[in-house]
Symmetry: C2
Subunit: 239 residues, 2 copies
Amino acid sequence: MHRIPTSNPVHRRHPQIRIQAFLANLPMFSEMRDAELDRIAAGTLPVHAEKGQAICQTGDPCTGFHVVVYGQVKLGFTSPQGVEKVVEIVRPGQSFGEALMFLDSPYIVFAQALADTMLLHVARHAVLDELARDPGFSRRMLSGLSRRLHGLVRDVEAYSLRSSHERVIGYLLAEVPADADGGPVEVHLSTGKSVIASRLNMTPEHFSRILHELGNDGTIEIRGRTVRIPDLGRLRGGG
Amino acid sequence: MHRIPTSNPVHRRHPQIRIQAFLANLPMFSEMRDAELDRIAAGTLPVHAEKGQAICQTGDPCTGFHVVVYGQVKLGFTSPQGVEKVVEIVRPGQSFGEALMFLDSPYIVFAQALADTMLLHVARHAVLDELARDPGFSRRMLSGLSRRLHGLVRDVEAYSLRSSHERVIGYLLAEVPADADGGPVEVHLSTGKSVIASRLNMTPEHFSRILHELGNDGTIEIRGRTVRIPDLGRLRGGG
DNA sequence: ATGCAACATTGATCTAGGTTAAATGTGACC
DNA sequence: GGTCACATTTAACCTAGATCAATGTTGCAT
């Protein structure tokens, strides 16, 4: 069990306009007028984290939420015995930590960069102030939290009602671009297999085995991190 | 696999004042002025469900959310193979279905009365209208959803990192009134053991076994649905 | 290129918890 | 009280997935 270094905010000034432009593309801040976006941006600070660096630890107080600009972040918790479980893999354009802003509890998950990552930290007070002014913003925030909640319920369903075999298939299918028709697709696993395994609530060994089972009955072809799916319908049907 | 009859709203008029008084006690509607509460109450309809009756089914569209007045409701999903998993047991004063109001998706869980139950159904439009007017209401709604999210994350942690033994202990401890000091306490299981077992992600058999293990090493004493805990500290320490 | 460290695969073995089945309680209603 | 339906318990057995232990791969820093 080794200590994870915690990242520090980059205090170097970034061009203000870039931050606003990025924020404006998030569902949460879409439809905001410039003045509103300016106020949010004033409470926003870029944060950089190297691969492996912690962005926040279990128990830390919540000072705002994070958005991933580039890179990748894993959220997870560690059992008293040191076992780790990945709850979510956060990709560019996605955010985490919003819910905590409305509670007075500290982080129950940790966040760690899976790659060289750039985030924006939006201060709690900036969000809270804006919520008080803009009902549209509240509405979008409620949508965001609801979507998150919905996703978690689906996870609970998967964990308790689906076999690991089914969870792997589900994961692969979720990685397939929406516009793919039945034909052959290639999906690229965005991170290491052990992280994905943990996300799917299984051991790396078991994940490997399932992938290779699917491999040698011809449902998928594995080349490193690239998985080719010759027939989507077949994978959907359970391999 | 038997069909579950769906409950119908009770159209008989209930005293308006009772509804408002009840709603006013919910965290979500606290601090509301009379005029606001009146508007919410105007969109609220009492619903009655017998023990075993479905309040809503997986796939139903969402027309609002429900609050339990008295009785008890279980939320859960059913696998294609007909296995059922209880996600939550909802008690008086608690509500469900809020998140769905902000999404356009149908119910992914079903809700079924565990006892003779009275609920209030608050129409989606009433909530949405009020959110647009009252930032304080938005704020409380955000708190509520955040708390729910937090709870679900804790569940995921329990399911993936704790043994069933630990989950049972956790459940019992959660049932102990907060004001209890270390001394002997009695907790009364609010519903059947199979439902609790499913809520804890285990079979009734396994739940029974664990309870009796704890029973014969003296950590707890079981008399039907009543569990006596002679030494809270000992239970907290893992039996 | 070379060598190291992290990651991935493979096989053997183990076990927590599930499944099946049967016996026993228990409570609601007549 | 009696009886029916259902909940709970008990016991024997089974299996999905974990753990342990090598071994192979890959990427990356020198």
